[in-house]
Symmetry: C2
């Protein structure tokens, strides 16, 4: 099912909201890295489709080895043009990685590197670890409904029982290939008690 | 140094702000529990005074044993009339504790229990584990400056580079024995990138 902007009426004001999904730590890998970690010719195995069209959680997992400890991370497919490891501040501290910046996906210049270990080999990355900047994926049609444009920074209210939170610094990402959904990380989910099916509203 | 409400002017509007401190996981213990864990007649050793007058971090640590794993937690003094274990959602998941509620300090009825282990003994608590509800300590004089009263729920903006956040559901706690400071947990700190010396503002 493709999600799209849902309009509802609050008093006399038309409102729209969207689902808020929590992205747990994960990695995106290049074809070269996939082959080094999982063997020549290996391709990723789709375990479960994600909300963004064409994106999927994989059966494959990789060990991420930090200076302090290591964590097993799920691989998200399909293969990308650059390796990217997305963690929370909590995960970064667990791994012993310092100065991991909050960045948009794809913006990995001058970020920390880390070692990835798979069943068939390992890769020492010189960069690629980020903490994902919270964002809303939407189609151009959704953007019109919300009155926002690609790259715009908005505030999103997520109501919960006891931890209602407004997430500032949320970037809007618009593409015809997206489906409407906000993505936050596990720290942000915990801070807002945004468990289960939760909706956000631009305020 | 006793912190107090600091007034400043933003345009023509008088604003006030306050320091936002992060409380990492910790325990408060009764005299009976202290003696069971650390030996008969033992009293807590002040390692460092905290912002709230009379409160201090102790040299003593206790092992908190959950169904899934265990964590060493700092003890905060002085002794209290009830044992209380304060964790984040991240910690609760690490320990394997389910259904830990967000509560104000002291409100431990019908919360999960846990086992505490010290160098001289252990205690099986039938309740006492909470996730602290975010709150602002203030004196009656501070409350007048902010125009709020004890128990009021307010929204607090914490500005940071890339993760500015408004924490709703923040309870105001007023007492002459308090010093002005907001307390959030480690998940909330990470969600707002509220590292170092950070200030909040009621919005």
């Amino acid at each position: 099912m493709r999600l799209c902007a849902k309009l509802y009426t609050k008093g006399t004001i038309k409102m729209a909201n969207f689902i808020v999904e929590t992205s747990a730590r994960h990695v995106h890998l290049t074809t070269a890295t996939i082959e080094t970690l999982f063997g020549a010719g290996h391709t990723l195995t789709n375990k479960k489709d994600l909300s963004q069209p064409g994106q999927f959680a994989c059966e494959e997992k990789v060990k991420v080895v930090g200076p302090k400890s290591e964590l097993m991370l799920s691989v998200l497919g399909p293969a990308r043009t650059a390796d990217q490891i997305e963690v929370s501040y909590t995960d970064a501290r667990t791994l012993g990685l310092k100065a991991v910046p909050v960045r948009e996906s794809g913006d990995t210049a001058n970020t920390p590197g880390v070692k990835l270990v798979g069943p068939c080999g390992e890769v020492e990355l010189s960069e690629g670890v980020i903490i994902a900047k919270r964002h809303i994926h939407m189609t151009p049609e959704d953007a019109k409904v919300f009155g926002v444009e690609n790259g715009q920074i908005v505030n999103v209210k997520v109501a919960s029982d006891g931890r209602t939170t407004v997430f500032g610094d949320t970037v809007v990402r618009v593409s015809p290939s997206y489906a409407l959904a906000m993505h936050i990380d596990t720290d942000e989910c915990n801070a807002a008690a945004a468990f289960g099916v939760v909706y956000g509203e631009i305020v």
